[in-house]
Symmetry: C2
Subunit: 523 residues, 2 copies
């Protein structure tokens, strides 16, 4: 059945004609702020400022039930083949990023999940054995793009304060040669380990950057084989002890954007912060994996968040969603989640290949608060289209570097601003001066943790992975492939051949692609 044909969908659409009016005191009450709250894995999810009445909440739970959201999550974590399109050739794979951290209590016993866990554990043992070899290096340069870069970098920045003295990590992702050039200026090859991440072992950008960096190392008298390690699929062109000091493995059932908790993130976290930090992150992620299996949607944090997102997208018809962490350490969090969400659910067909008549993934973006308040929040308050917000915050700062200024600490100022935004956006304000009037009814919720520890970070990572997966289950789309990136690659290949021809100064062959050829003439 199509999402839009569900009986709960019809009822929700009816409710959406007159959604809860948060500008009325009788609706947005202290009791609501108190009760619209769910706790799990050290986080509270506060959702009193969503435009969701008790009735809508229950209909959303019906929707989750009708779409068998939790049952599908169970299947995913057990290793069922969910990455497929019925009736058409497709990747046809399990989706087992949860197996990358299924090392704690209450492990999966389904066969595929078990095998994946055991393979992952072997790789973690390899990493532990490799730690003494990493120790002498001062710098780590990570070469990778997409999922091999965004998640790992977001995690690294989130924990930067735990950095071991004298260690630094740098990322090269863009094929723009200025990216590698800039990083090379910051490191001394003799003290630098290079980590190259590519599941296929053939990613254009990663390959080109690796060659650039290898050249630089050679020029500086460093034999790359002694400095380069790889994370790649078993048997890929990069799985080579001839070219690398060490090759670690990943698997096709862990999608790039879901790979941050695998060794893609694990090696650099261990390098910068020590292995126990990585292990704690896995423990937090695993705890949230278990939370995502809770059958009662009222207790299932990622499911709840996915239902709010679906309400805002498909019923209130809001085309975007902002992720605003009130935590500078999460400065690149929204960029990572932007990929996780938009690459997973930016689809227009369902799992039977039918073109959808409803909207799927919204545009996801965000910057840390309070900074965002001084940037685009003008529009969030007074723009023509509301933007639902997902706030993230922590009660305590990571460092305890703080001071009272004008009677409050900076951490208190941070939290006061967070709560103020959430309430001001919901309540709005009337004014005779139209420029000082605020319409209100701009929905948000807050994910509130104790402190941004490795454990909390792991839980947060898993929260988003599962929020996105739940949305896909409810929409009935395949959240685990990315066919949409293929066409650009094919066309780029044609234009690359034209570049070669152009360089040969005998450029007769347009490779049958005159539009690309015409573009090149503009250079």
């Amino acid at each position: 059945m199509l999402f839009s044909e569900c009986s709960s969908y019809q009822k929700l659409a009816q409710q959406a004609k007159h959604p809860l009016d948060l500008t009325e005191d009788k609706n947005l009450t202290p009791e609501r702020i108190r009760d619209f709250c769910t706790e799990g894995c050290g986080f509270k999810l506060l959702f009193g400022t969503e435009r969701i009445s008790q009735e809508v909440l229950e209909l959303l739970f019906d929707l989750a039930e009708e779409r068998k959201a939790v049952a599908q999550m169970e299947k995913m974590q057990k290793g069922f083949v969910l990455n497929k399109i019925e009736g058409y050739p497709s990747e046809h794979r399990s989706v087992l990023h949860t197996a990358m951290r299924d090392f704690f209590e209450d492990q999966q016993d389904a066969e595929l999940a078990k095998v994946a866990r055991e393979k992952a554990l072997l790789q973690i043992e390899s990493l532990k054995a490799f730690l003494p070899q990493m120790e002498p290096f001062a710098h780590l340069v990570v070469i990778g793009i997409g999922g091999s870069a965004l998640g790992p970098e977001a995690l690294y920045l989130a924990l930067e304060n735990l950095q071991k003295k004298g260690k630094s990590v740098h990322f090269i992702s863009n094929v723009d040669p200025d990216h590698a050039a800039r990083v090379m200026q910051k490191i001394d090859p003799k003290k630098t380990l290079v980590l190259v991440i590519s599941k296929s072992g053939a990613t254009l950008e990663t390959f080109a950057n690796e060659e650039l960096v290898r050249g630089y190392f050679k020029k500086n008298g460093c034999e790359p084989k002694e400095y380069f390690v790889a994370v790649t699929g078993e048997g890929s062109p990069m799985d080579s002890t001839e070219r690398y000091l060490k090759s670690f493995h990943m698997w096709d059932y862990v999608g790039g954007r879901f790979s941050a908790s695998s060794l893609c993130g694990g090696i650099l976290l261990s390098f910068a912060f020590g292995f126990p930090v990585y292990w704690e992150l896995l423990r937090g992620a695993h705890a949230m994996d278990k939370n995502a299996l809770k059958k009662n949607p009222r207790e299932n944090l990622p499911l709840l968040a996915s239902l709010f997102a679906i309400w805002n997208r498909n019923f209130l018809k809001l085309p975007t969603e902002a992720i605003i962490p009130y935590s500078q350490a999460l400065s690149r969090w929204a960029a990572h989640i932007q990929q996780v969400a938009m690459e997973s659910n930016g689809k227009q067909i369902d799992r039977e290949g039918r073109t959808l008549a409803f909207e799927t993934c919204p545009v996801i973006y965000g910057e840390p608060g309070t900074n965002a308040q001084h940037s685009f929040f003008q529009m969030i308050h007074q723009g023509t289209t509301p933007v639902p917000l997902e706030f993230i915050a922590f009660k305590e700062s990571q460092y305890q570097f703080d001071a009272e200024v004008k009677g409050t600490t900076s951490q208190e100022k941070l939290l006061a601003n967070l709560f103020a935004q959430s309430l001001a956006l919901a309540q709005g304000k009337k004014s005779e001066n139209p420029n000082k009037a605020f319409p209100g009814n701009r929905p948000s919720h807050i994910l509130l943790g104790e402190k941004l520890t490795p454990y909390a970070l792991g839980a947060l990572l898993s929260f988003y992975e599962h929020k996105v997966a739940f949305q896909g289950f409810i929409w009935d789309i395949n959240s685990f492939d990315q066919e949409g990136v293929q066409l650009g690659k094919v066309v780029a290949d044609k234009i690359l051949k034209q570049f070669v021809g152009r360089r040969a100064k005998n450029p007769k062959d347009t490779e049958g692609f005159v539009l690309g050829w015409e573009m090149l003439k503009h250079l």
Copy 2:
């Protein structure tokens, strides 16, 4: 007259029912790729891949004429009071960021513009006189938020490769105390100059961070007065030779988000790269200011871009716009433009205070290409709602650190990908397999420069400032105030008082704001 009542609006709405179909070969031709191109200030604007027919283009020009877009730009640059709402109390100010760089050929002779230029020049002379005092410092810490942070940081990162040996610049913006803490770990106070930027001299975040950093300096035996300089409004609490080594001035006719080319950006650019780099940037910005005055819209780059944006937003009804620089140096460019655009045009009333019945600013976001291709481009190609794209690229890299890999350089790979995306998004691709089908007709244009020099960067900065201003002129909104950020501040103040009460452990007074009080109980 309302925007939506213009005769060109009506005709455009008619055209939008059957917009140009770019998937048809007869429409997207090599001739179109060649001819839909405008040059100025060292940039080409290639717009053959917009869904704009010759007829629509001419109607958009009529719209610009009907809305007197260029005449309003002239008024702005001359110092007319454009920051106002008729009939209501408002800021009632000139808008003269262009005077911050009106030092080159063909200067404005209108009185207000002239006075503003002369004041700006005096400040630049002050900066030049101060250069020898900056010279001994190795680090610069910039404390500021919003316009005092995003633009300056984006400019700094764009030119990072020109950095003088042994100099580094760090930014503290967020009131999150972890932000300051992290930066303090990276610098040695004895070698560090601190630049505090706040026009009002009373920005909450900036004040709190300045106090934190002053405390750290004192603890390390450094008397802040010898290390701290300010950029602030004349007569503000920060305009003090008792507290600062030096106070530089800014003015209320330069909005924060338009202040990057003033000393807000100038001091740090001069510190990191030398004064001549800053001067070149001003020269480039000034050149684009002049381009924005061109009466023929076909020759006016920012006006053209604003018309494409309006076509996509108000006629094709697309709610977002992505800015994708194929240049890693522009990694924070979209974050800066996000503020410039969304804070300026995220408004729901016109300049007479009337509530608008049409959409204004779209959500603006973006990441550098090729990275974005491996992140959210899945959705750009196959999502349910098209996202118009603004690509930025340069023919040459900044460094010449490059190598041929598989027959092409990285710079060629970068450009091949850019052209490929633009064409693939427009053309799409049919397939029997619905997962391999691409709908096409996803609009974009390319701003193509020679090389990301200080001059080009200045031109690019001005291009966006004026693109946004033109959109505001055409919609008839006041792009220069930000009343929408006020309510959050008022509510935050109430909650801050509750924090003080809570700390006193005798918390009886909820400050009449029970919702905030209830939020605090969640801590």
